[in-house]
Symmetry: C3
Subunit: 380 residues, 3 copies
């Protein structure tokens, strides 16, 4: 069922050695140095011990020596990793191809139905792709299935998810589901271009969970678009509701080049985003709101993908009937105006739409929220 039994122990030990040594080097070169280190190329795409972590190496050199990591998870090709004036970016592989013809589409926020039979089989591809996040902005994204965020996954406590990731990208990628209790060293391991990894898990807890690429540097992989939500419903259904999924993320973008803006690792480290969005497009639900009926209970499954900031979730003109900080239906909070979903976390927000009108939902940390983490809920 899973292929993780066949992973040689030597690779696992190498990985820990890498992490230890990468860590040491990162300490030596803070700031952009960390990016150079972590995104450094490893010339032969194999599990050898050769590695190149110096800034020189990043431009094609092959220096080796003490403190240069063997990065079996981030075997980047210096030919595709662009180090410009803004440092290293996501403009790799096919991330900028066809940008001009990429069309905008609204990301559907509706919670999809459960798969029948208790087994959800998913086979996704990691790939670089331009994604239009606004009429005039295309980002050079690293994606699951070509979009940012990746597809919404919906399963249930006790059901099974069988997941396969095939990597079509030039850079190694991986998948980390926060809904899984599993050995990440095996299931969440990075796979090189053309390779696949498969694993199964059975969620134990209900909730709004994040998934993301866990390949080092994780900041760069989340920040470049590789994240999404897996919603786990409890076996005892929650009160009937119109259910929506909102994944907040930040974009840190280099200046436009060839019609696209690449994600910029140095800006990510500086933690001041250019845009903040729900479901990958700033203000998309202002332009095309979410519609419900008066009397509906509305449930927002909110995930903060970050990579760095919380979502201080609030609905203007409404109050949350219930917020679940942990696995629903446990420990409900009642009568809440705003609650903070931490980066890498998820919470569930219920409200009862007794009043008709137009209700903006926002990140009430407005220094960030003003950059696009806003939408409108129309109660008809």
């Amino acid at each position: 069922m899973t292929d993780h039994i066949s992973v040689p122990l030597s690779e696992l030990h190498d990985r820990r050695r890498f992490l230890a040594r990468a860590s040491a080097l990162t300490l030596a070169i803070p700031g952009v140095g960390a990016a150079l280190t972590a995104c450094s190329p490893s010339a032969p795409p194999s599990h050898t011990d050769t590695a190149h972590g110096t800034p020189q190496a990043a431009t094609g050199g092959a220096a080796q020596g003490v403190n240069q990591p063997h990065n079996s998870d981030s075997r980047l090709d210096s030919a595709v990793l662009k180090g410009g004036p803004h440092g290293h970016t996501s403009a790799t592989g096919t991330a900028t191809q066809g940008a001009q013809s990429t069309t905008f589409h609204r990301f559907a926020p509706e919670l999809p139905p459960l798969a029948p039979g208790g087994l959800l089989r998913l086979h996704w591809h990691a790939r670089e792709a331009p994604v239009r996040i606004a009429d005039d902005t295309v980002v050079a994204a690293w994606t699951f299935e070509g979009d940012v965020p990746g597809p919404i996954v919906h399963t249930r406590v006790g059901d099974t998810v069988e997941f396969t990731l095939t990597n079509d990208a030039v850079i190694p990628h991986s998948m980390d589901f926060h809904a899984a209790q599993i050995n990440p060293q095996v299931a969440f391991r990075s796979v090189a271009k053309g390779q696949s990894v498969t694993f199964r898990f059975t969620p134990k807890y209900a909730g709004a969970f994040m998934y993301h690429c866990g390949t080092a540097p994780v900041l760069m992989h989340i920040g470049s678009g590789m994240f999404g939500a897996i919603i786990v419903s409890p076996r005892e259904p929650l009160p009937a509701a119109r259910e929506f999924v909102l994944v907040q993320n930040e974009f840190y973008l280099a200046d436009a080049a060839n019609g696209t803006r690449a994600s910029d690792y140095q800006k990510m480290l500086n933690t001041l985003p250019d845009f903040v969005s729900f479901n990958g497009r700033p203000s998309q639900y202002v332009k095309e709101p979410i519609h419900v009926k008066r009397g509906d209970r509305v449930r927002f499954w909110v995930v903060s993908a970050g990579p760095s900031h919380p979502c201080n979730f609030h609905v203007v003109g409404e109050q949350f009937d219930t917020v679940y900080l942990g696995a629903p239906p446990g420990t409900p909070l009642r009568g809440v105006q705003t609650f903070s979903v931490p980066p890498g976390g998820g919470m569930v927000f219920d409200l009862v739409c007794d009043v008709a009108g137009e209700f903006p939902f926002v990140n009430h940390g407005f220094g960030h929220g003003q950059k696009g983490a806003i939408g409108i809920l129309i109660v008809e």
Copy 2:
């Protein structure tokens, strides 16, 4: 009772169109561009479709075209919106008039008594005014009733608040009470100079709720001083206590000009404040502490107005007997040293003063707290 029945639907639709188009433009011009866009002037102070969102327009031009928002909520007059080296600021209208003669006063933190009869009628004015936040600092503020924060409102679950806002300022303003469940499109709509809006609401949940001007860009209106607290007591009284209200906010200020420092939108977007305060004056309760008696239960109703940062509330030398994350008395936490109140949120903190002494209360996120979010509670 309210005047919201008479609002023409066309205006409501215009508002959504505006938001959609403003959003698109904001995406095109990040950073200071967003400020220019959102604060852009709309030459005729009327509900027409003409609008001017380019930087050129902000200096007096009248360019029109695609992607320029019809901002029915932020009809700014370019004659009063100052775009200096720091970008756009709050130095509008009467915000700087009489600054030198403006005196410092301590903001009384005591929770005011409930209004008799179950009905609280408020008629407030939005106005620009200089506010002295320290002996040597006067800010050019946008205010409710001339002060920062606005007055503390105290009501009770099931009672009624009838609120009227009259706008005396040159820029449109509005009122958003987090304690209300109401159609914000109508009740919280922006009103132009000389106009008023009235609405009624009946709080459903107890708690420490924020109120603020909700006119776009909300970041600028909160950041310039238009916020405060509405405290909703439960109908079943909480344990008897000495009750105080603390509203944390950040100040983002341009350099002094004409004896005042204006709020600076670009600094707000950069999220690094100059001062952080409880009730609008950095360290005011260090200079003039809050006094209680040994044996008192003390209740702090804490609101984080932001606009961007949480309040990590802590009392040195004490521990919270109870913290209510949601509507009190639900879901109490016991034995807490520090809890984070999200921006746009509020929580309730009880402590029992068994020990006499001087107890500083702080935002324990000291990078911000050190900038003035500190006071002293004296237990006699």
Copy 3:
């Protein structure tokens, strides 16, 4: 037993006067000015009213006048407080002596056993010392007992801690235990070089509490290394577990000089850290992981020392069986992926290790977490 009875009331009143006046001055000079003010020298090491708060004074002058604080808590010697191009730093006294010969050691994360007999007597020294936080990085630290963080303290609800601090450093220091309910004006007061303070307390609540130097400016003292964890177990034991203590902190460092990097107050005010670590060494538990057995319950007592950022605690491949936001065992959350521990706060995270493997634990706010707040838990 304690010496606080003998503190003259005049000193206490002076302290409040100081705070009030220091506060006023801090308002006048934001940014580095605040550092200059708060770290300003007070020439005679005595309780007189002479004080020197201007930038000139910091380089040896003796200006006096209105708005210059009497800082009985921060009587710094201008001969040792270095104001370089980066502003004021921790490179005082013996903080840089012997840096080259300082060796790296892993900080043991295991919760130490309880002291027998219900009384824990501690006599610690505050002192400046170089601390090697990585193979190539030595920081000029202000410490409790020579290390960053200070020693882990373990006590129990109802037991007694008798604590003495002797100050060996040139700058005044103090101790603030978040687990104590006590008059901080007396127990947590600053002591000058060569002096001591002793106090007793009996923790009322269980939890993971922070301790730190509370001498003004607190941001500088926490940011320079004076913090740690005091773990208070409940009298009714929690479920048996392997128990570990993780204290997250940020480092804000000036460029290397004489083989050390000093903590930089201006960088602290800018809130963008160079490193973020668990137990004072970035990524130390990646290099030397924490080991447990399959089937173990693992309990992390997590403290966010800050000084400014939360710890969004997450274990890759696992989910928390229980998170205690307040005093355990009260108000448990079940089934949590990530929860945010506020700066100055602490929470308790339980997980049940049903699966063998290597589980990274991280601050999932990766803009900060990527800077070293990562470790590995190996389940054998």
